[in-house]
Amino acid sequence: MFKRLTEAGVAVAITVDGERVAARVGDTVAAAMIAAGIDHCRTTPVSGAPRAPYCLMGVCFECLVTVDGVGSRQGCLVPVSEGMAVETQTGKREAGR
């Protein structure tokens, strides 16, 4: 869906659902997922429909993901960092996360 204009930039390794994703310094979690071709980041609590980042500016809340164990973070507002573990979310938020 998207490609990087330049392959330059400092690499940052994160994982999404345990799979290694090559991110760059300056990526947000949502941008890194889009660049990696991951087509959805969560399923909805109401019907279980898949959703992907929509606005990338912090207003739509479609890019909610679990980051390092903390659920429902806005992926478009969280910058990536080395070793970050991102998980896609399924349905409702789980208790304790």
Binding site: R4, H40, A49
Partner: protein
């Protein structure tokens, strides 16, 4: 990196939002000697128009254009002004006494402000078409953010749809970056010219005229533009085709990415939650705060500058920020020397000149603002247009009652993506105006925060004792 614990307990001026209005306001106020802090929730300053201005990987300046790079000066002005600029800072509360609730990296603080300038800018108008929640459908602003901040360019079969200046600007930027567009589906009605025409002379004199024409020519030379009356995104788990109705009937176009845009509207959540009075703007089809000539709101000490004060664009936003900041300085440090306000107002007036024409010309069609049938209106709670219309027909006359019936506007986005649609649908069903229907009642926290963040607020000994037995 500024931490929550580094913040003072009070400031002369708290600016919320680091776009052109916020940056210009903070710079001017700090230079005049006000203790000033600017909170912005994004990783860098610039807002949306100058997104990632300090670290964009797009080095070829022709791609984003000189109007984008003009933001660098605003950012460096603010940085060197002495204002404390804090990114990654989410303001989740502002009350009429100007107590600001802010969270930085999971730690919350309540900050007292003598003056507040809300510069939370704009967001894209909801574009509720069938299938707009499918992965593969994104707002044009989202794609532009990914281009500016991460150098991401659409690949694969890409269709843009809608109308308004941003749509054409993004199309040009994608093309300059080497991307391809399969088509632009234009949704603004041709009949808009009737009302726009009277404002053409002002537009011709405004800075937008020659820029706009050049942009249209640049894009039309390379991309097929089709005027459409109906639009649908189709796919099971993700977008696979765009269906549209044009003059020749229904057509289907395979697509991997559909970028939607039909203008921008003020981001009203924080201002409404702070108690600022808003009114319906029939030309721009949105709610905007009622403000005086200095952008002061109905709440003493709280001003709203930038596109949050009514859509006028990035350059106007900076001038509005300066005017609001001058008023704050005059109130708190009347002895400080100030730039010539008259000159700033004249520049602002020039920037706002072409607006009426652009607004009327790009006014989205009723059918793209007031959806029907099973089209989702509230993305968070998956509430459809039919549900909202049926509930209004049952006698539900306001958006707040609608929440109780359907939960629309009660998901994490807090109505940002459905508020205007719900208000307009109710107005349509009840035969009244959006202004009479009103908007969702918004309350803090205007962004979701965790209990752990609330628990991180410092507690005074007296407060602790008052609840201890």
């Amino acid at each position: 990196m500024t931490r929550a614990s580094d913040l003072a307990s009070s400031y002369d001026l708290v600016v919320i939002g680091g776009g052109p209005a916020g940056l210009a306001a903070a710079a001017l106020a700090a230079r005049a000697g006000l203790s000033t802090v600017l909170f912005d929730e994004n990783p860098g300053v610039g807002g949306q128009i100058y997104r990632a201005i300090a670290f964009s990987p797009v080095k070829d300046r022709t791609i984003l254009g000189e109007d984008y790079w003009a933001g660098a000066e605003l950012a460096s002005e603010a940085k060197s002004s002495g204002a404390l600029i804090v990114n990654g800072a989410t303001v989740w509360s502002l009350d009429p006494t100007r107590l600001v609730g802010v969270s930085i990296d999971g730690q919350a603080r309540l900050i007292r402000a003598s003056r507040v300038i809300i510069a939370t800018g704009a967001l894209e108008r909801p574009f509720p078409i069938p299938g707009w929640t499918l992965p593969g459908v994104m707002s044009a602003g989202g794609a532009q953010t990914a281009l500016k901040a991460q150098g991401l360019v659409p690949s694969g079969r890409t269709v843009m749809a809608g109308g308004g200046p941003l749509l054409w600007l993004l199309a040009a930027q994608i093309l300059r970056a080497g991307g391809k567009l399969d088509a632009i589906l234009e949704t603004t009605p041709r009949a808009n010219w009737l009302r726009a025409f009277a404002h053409l002379p002002d537009f011709v004199l405004s800075p937008y005229f020659s820029k706009g024409l050049k942009l249209l020519r640049e894009v039309r030379a390379k991309v097929r533009v089709i005027r459409v009356d109906r639009l649908e995104a189709v796919g099971d788990d993700k977008l696979c085709e765009v269906v549209y109705v044009a003059a020749g009937g229904e057509r289907r176009m395979p697509a991997d990415l559909l970028l939607l845009h039909q203008g921008v509207v003020p981001n009203v959540n924080l201002a409404i939650a702070a108690g600022v009075t808003h009114a319906w703007n029939e030309r721009q089809l949105c709610f905007e705060p009622l403000l005086d000539a200095d952008f002061a709101s109905s709440v003493p000490g709280i001003a709203v500058a930038g596109d949050g004060a009514g859509i006028a664009g990035g350059t106007a936003a900076a001038e509005r920020g300066r005017i609001a900041a001058i008023a704050a300085v005059r109130a708190l440090r009347p002895e400080a020397s100030m730039p010539d306000t008259q000159a700033i107002r004249q520049k602002l007036q020039r920037e706002e000149m072409g607006r009426a024409f652009l607004d009327w010309l790009n006014r989205p069609a009723d059918s793209f603002r007031r959806p029907k049938g099973d089209t989702i209106v509230c993305r968070c709670e998956e509430v459809t247009a039919r549900q909202v219309r049926d509930t209004a027909n049952m006698g539900c006359e306001g958006p707040n009652q609608m929440k109780a019936f359907l939960r629309c506007g009660m998901g994490p986005c807090q109505g940002r993506l459905c508020g205007l649609t719900v208000t307009e649908l109710i107005a349509g069903q009840c035969g009244t105006t959006p202004g009479d229907v009103g908007y969702y009642r918004l309350r803090p926290p205007v962004k979701p925060i965790t209990l752990a963040e609330l628990a991180s607020l410092p507690i005074a000994e007296a407060e602790r004792k008052s609840v201890e037995r």
